[in-house]
């Protein structure tokens, strides 16, 4: 059953990434040099919509809180984000969109994926050097969210108010930014 879900949801995700234009490195590079913002608008709207419905669902109880999975905050998240950012701008791919681009038949994506396998391997063999360094030290208690969720093991920054309030405010802000940003795309 899990495997069937994996095939259906994975295929759907690849399909959507391609349809949104995220697997086209032209769109990523132009987003990053701020000449075509349609993708960042789609991403922000997507996060806002998903977040709003998620927190409404958690509050009303039709979302299973055990499905949440908050990642740990540590210094390497920021440094890793910076390293990824440089490669993202150079290649125009991130891991997910590179995989989708492979299915789309892009040849440069083959080289991106090959490089990705080398990069992940380099991390595997250098990881032990980071252990014990500040890079892997937690920030704000590690697994921490802004808004309260029903999962009590997570630390919460705004722990005095019901999670749905800050979550909806953040979603609204992201949605308004998506709405107000200039667009410009041939499909608009």
């Amino acid at each position: 059953m899990e495997i069937i879900s994996a095939i259906c949801l994975g295929a759907l995700f690849g399909f959507v990434l391609h349809r949104v234009g995220a697997s086209n490195p032209q769109n990523i590079i132009n987003m990053l040099r701020l000449t075509d913002l349609h993708l960042i608008r789609a991403i922000l709207l997507g996060i806002a919509l998903a977040s709003a419905i998620l927190f409404i669902g958690l509050t009303l109880g039709f979302f299973d809180p055990s499905h949440l999975s908050v990642k740990t905050s540590y210094w390497g998240v920021i440094i890793g984000g910076v390293i990824l950012g440089v490669g993202w701008a150079l290649a125009g791919y991130c891991p997910g969109t590179g995989v989708a681009a492979l299915g789309e038949g892009r040849k440069d994506a083959i080289f991106f994926i090959a490089g990705g396998l080398v990069g992940a391997w380099l991390y595997m063999v250098t990881y032990s050097a980071f252990k014990g360094m500040f890079l892997l030290d937690n920030i704000l208690g590690g697994k921490v969210t802004l808004a309260q969720t029903p999962k009590e093991s997570y630390a919460v920054l705004l722990d005095k108010i019901p999670g749905i309030i800050p979550a909806l405010i953040v979603a609204l802000v992201l949605g308004v930014i998506a709405w107000r940003l200039p667009g410009k795309t041939s499909a608009d």
Binding site: G14, Q26, R33, L54, H67, V86, A89, A91, V118, L146
Partner: protein, 188 residues
């Protein structure tokens, strides 16, 4: 490009797929599976990368510190790759392929080698683009692994749960990617 969704429809589609995966099973993540595939390749060459260990939480252990972390969770997935997360990522290739077949945006022969923004800046020779995509891949996956996630896992899945790690990652990634894109591709 024709067949591409505009930002609004694209944003809704992205939001719904991220929501649907959390509703059914767990948030989307991609970059970990590069490590799993590396592990499968490495283990098939050397054969002693992963071994059964009843004392480990997952039942498997590895002399590689990264595969061995969190009770050998990654080590187990290397010997048992037929699991949700790995099949999910493989299925993304299929999904993007289906999108091309069903009137999704179609890249022409030149675009499949290098996006237009690359060709305008660096010419039509394929070798340069392939090398850039390869180096980009190394940086993107090294950064993702140091950060513990990528654009899907940290930015989209993380920010929808209001995870602090998602905001930290997005800040680091865009702070590096935007200037990098200006420098590499120019501002027009």
């Amino acid at each position: 490009m024709s067949g591409q969704l505009n930002w609004f429809k694209g944003g809704i589609a992205l939001g719904l797929i991220f929501l649907l995966t959390v509703f059914i099973i767990k948030p989307i993540g991609v970059s970990t599976q590069f490590v799993i595939l590396d592990g499968i390749i490495w283990n098939s060459v050397s054969g002693d990368l992963v071994e059964k260990n009843p004392d480990a939480k997952s039942g498997y252990a590895s002399p590689n510190a990264y595969l061995n972390k969190s009770g050998g969770k990654y080590a187990k997935n290397v010997v048992k790759p037929f699991n949700y997360s790995f099949i999910f990522v493989l299925s993304m290739i299929l999904g993007a392929f289906l999108s091309v077949l069903t009137k999704g945006p179609k890249a022409d022969t030149l675009d499949r080698v290098a996006p237009e923004v690359w060709r305008t800046r660096f010419g039509e020779k394929s070798a340069g683009r392939y090398i850039a995509a390869f180096i980009g891949g190394i940086l993107v996956l090294y950064g993702s692994r140091l950060a513990g996630g990528c654009t899907s896992g940290h930015m989209m899945s993380g920010m929808m749960q209001t995870s602090v790690s998602g905001y930290l990652f997005a800040a680091g990634a865009f702070a590096a990617a935007i200037p990098a894109a200006f420098i590499i591709y120019g501002r027009k």
